[in-house]
């Protein structure tokens, strides 16, 4: 167990370094590069006096390393802004105020995060069921017509961008069949049933795309495991096919799938942005697109940092899960 703890610690330190480097690159890209942050923050109707105040408030006169240091301080310890009449406290992780709405970016994130989390987690459950199921079926029916049909289906699944699947589902279920409502977000705490019904289409759109990848991986991983010596031994002992596949082969085949699930969060975020925009769900993705179009730098920076950090964390979780699930992995 000591080995595992040490391994985890090393991975955590490495992850911290990655997040730190990410923050530096992101800060340099979005605050230093082109344009004048003060002018953007001040808005279109801005007199020179206001501009000077904003510049002071954002401490843009400081050298780069000091500005970056303030940014890091805000992330770790929070920040206090003077608003003229009083002090606005921005709790850690503080990304500053939105140029557009003057709201604290942290508040915006807190508002949007549950939507994206609902979308992502629900879709994940669905695509794991779909993907692993399809993969298993095509591995066990190897060489038959079932396998060929499933192979083509998964190929079509990977080839269809999520916004096309989503549009197709919308047209089918909301316009022609009228089985489902046009999605609007209902918080889980308000009404779990409505929450699920409204998210059903976005979940399906995301899951159809992602499950194709999992079907392929499950299939190849399963075939590989089935070819291993210990499976042949179990068969030779006379275990039923059901026991061999269900109890032994599946256990060997699943670790890569578990690992991919966590690592996949990165590409999932991208597709979640598209899904949210298509279905009009007020999540992080929609926030990002809007912020990009209005050059709302603090919001853009925040979404990039949050998604980047989430991916780094998910990678650690994946590594640890993989190490726990498959003890053959050397803990280096």
């Amino acid at each position: 167990m000591n080995g595992l703890a040490g391994y985890f610690l090393r991975r955590a330190l490495g992850a911290l370094a990655v997040v730190l480097v990410l923050s530096l690159v992101v800060y340099a890209t979005f605050y230093i590069a082109p344009g004048d942050p003060a002018r953007l923050a001040c808005g279109p109707r801005c007199n020179p006096e206001q501009l000077r105040q904003v510049r002071e408030q954002l401490s843009l006169g400081d050298p780069f390393y000091l500005q970056y240091w303030h940014f890091l301080q805000g992330l770790v310890a929070g920040h206090d802004y003077s608003t003229g009449t009083g002090v606005l406290h921005c709790t850690a992780p503080c990304f500053g105020q939105s140029y557009q709405s003057n709201q604290l970016v942290t508040d915006l994130l807190a508002e949007r995060l549950p939507v994206t989390a609902s979308l992502a987690l629900g879709a994940m459950v669905l695509w794991l069921l779909l993907g692993i199921g399809t993969g298993l079926l095509s591995a066990l029916r190897r060489g038959g017509a079932t396998e060929r049909v499933l192979t083509w289906l998964t190929l079509a699944g990977t080839a269809t961008p999520v916004f096309i699947t989503g549009l197709g589902l919308l047209m089918l279920f909301c316009v022609y069949l009228e089985w489902l409502p046009f999605p609007t977000y209902v918080p889980l705490a308000d009404d779990p049933e409505q929450w699920a019904w409204n998210l059903a289409l976005p979940w399906a759109a995301l899951a159809l795309l992602e499950s194709a990848k999992y079907a392929r991986l499950t299939r190849s991983s399963m075939l590989e495991t089935l070819a291993e010596d210990h499976i042949r031994t179990f068969r030779a002992y006379g275990l039923t096919e059901r026991a061999v596949v269900g109890r032994h082969a599946l256990r060997g085949a699943l670790p890569p799938v578990i690992a991919l699930t966590a690592v996949d969060l990165g590409s999932m975020f991208g597709n979640a942005v598209l899904t949210e925009t298509l279905f009009g769900l007020p999540g992080l993705g929609q926030l990002l697109v809007h912020a990009t179009q209005t050059i709302d730098i603090p919001v853009v920076v925040a979404v990039v940092m949050v998604t980047g950090t989430a991916v780094v964390l998910a990678n650690i979780v994946a590594d640890v899960l993989y190490a726990v699930a498959d003890r053959r992995v050397a803990l280096r």
Binding site: T158, T160, I164, L167, G270, N271, Q293, V303
Partner: protein, 334 residues
């Protein structure tokens, strides 16, 4: 570079015969050939867009107010989105612009951006991968970590974000190529590094090093020709994802700007029309789907044709399918 091409090197013979062998295997895969034919047609349509639009007698930017029903919010008059002899695939709702011409011009953008971005990705990926594999331990460690981060990061999110600060007066397609290329080279670099590490152990590369070739010379003369096959395969896999990224960015409104037509952007405006004018949703969706599917099938075919293990597995699989449960060990590392 020209002297290498002019005088055939003995070691250059290996990749050449390899290419012929790959072509022979690829020819036996009907799905890959069909995909190649579809893509060929698509490229012809894209290249001949001005010609074909002229043949139809339309262009992608002229408004036709008389062809849309302003009383119903701009739905095209006539059935199937106003399709007919004058406008082969109908007109765009709201504006009445010719759909056929816009789709063709959209194909130009889609293919141009996808190809350009793939070139940028391959150039960066090969450079970083080679440097990591040939450099000292520190360089390898730094570049490998960078590559890992690039692979794991939510690149579409970063790509969207970057459009908040890119110069707005730059030609949009070129900007898309650069941004997509800069943020999505990680997997190519990883592939090149792994392949190069394998090649470095081969006798002919060692011989070239021992006879006094500089690292640069070894990379150029011995490694790059051998890397061509895997890199080309990988490029075939990158292409469809680049098509999707471009369409996605334009769909979100941060990619190609109007009035330049692009499939993603058409789909985005189609989301407000799908009740009244399904034709307008159908056409760009279908084109995008067919394009990506064709690229994916072709990429799959090329990969299988380049992988001798896969090729022999296919043969064994046909002869006796019970025996061939062993697949490539890379399957788990996808």
């Amino acid at each position: 570079m020209t002297d290498t091409l002019a005088t055939p090197q003995p070691e250059a013979a290996a990749p050449a015969s390899g290419a012929r062998q790959v072509w022979r295997r690829l020819r036996t895969r009907r799905s890959a050939l069909a995909a190649a034919a579809v893509l060929g047609l698509l490229v012809l349509l894209a290249l001949g867009a001005p010609l074909l639009a002229a043949l139809e007698g339309q262009d992608p930017v002229t408004y036709h107010d008389t062809l849309v029903d302003s009383a119903r919010g701009g739905v095209p008059l006539g059935s199937f989105g106003g399709a007919g002899a004058e406008h082969w695939l109908g007109v765009e709702p709201g504006t009445g612009r010719d759909l056929f011409a816009r789709l063709l011009y959209g194909a130009r953008i889609s293919l141009f951006v996808a190809l350009g971005a793939t070139v940028v990705q391959v150039l960066i990926g090969v450079a970083v991968g080679l440097a990591a594999a040939l450099g000292n331990r520190l360089l390898d460690s730094v570049l490998s970590h960078l590559t890992d981060v690039m692979v794991a990061m939510p690149s579409l999110v970063f790509t969207i974000a970057l459009f908040a600060v890119v110069p707005s007066d730059f030609p949009r397609p070129v900007l898309l190529i650069v941004v997509i290329g800069l943020l999505n080279w990680g997997s190519t670099a990883r592939l090149v590094r792994a392949q190069t590490l394998g090649l470095k152990k081969l006798d002919y590369v060692t011989a070239a090093r021992l006879t006094g070739g500089s690292p640069w010379r070894v990379a150029r003369r011995e490694l790059l020709p051998a890397l061509a096959a895997p890199v080309i395969t990988y490029a075939a896999i990158l292409l469809p994802s680049n098509v999707v990224i471009e369409a996605g960015l334009s769909f979100l409104g941060v990619g190609i700007k109007p009035p330049t037509p692009s499939w993603g952007q058409m789909l985005s405006s189609a989301t407000t029309w799908f009740r009244a004018d399904p034709m307008y949703v159908l056409m760009p969706s279908l084109l995008l789907f067919v394009t990506v599917l064709a690229f994916t099938v072709l990429g799959d075919g090329v990969r299988a044709a380049l992988d001798p293990r896969e090729a022999s597995r296919l043969r064994v699989g046909r002869a006796g399918r019970r025996k061939s449960a062993a697949t490539s060990p890379e399957g788990g590392a996808a």
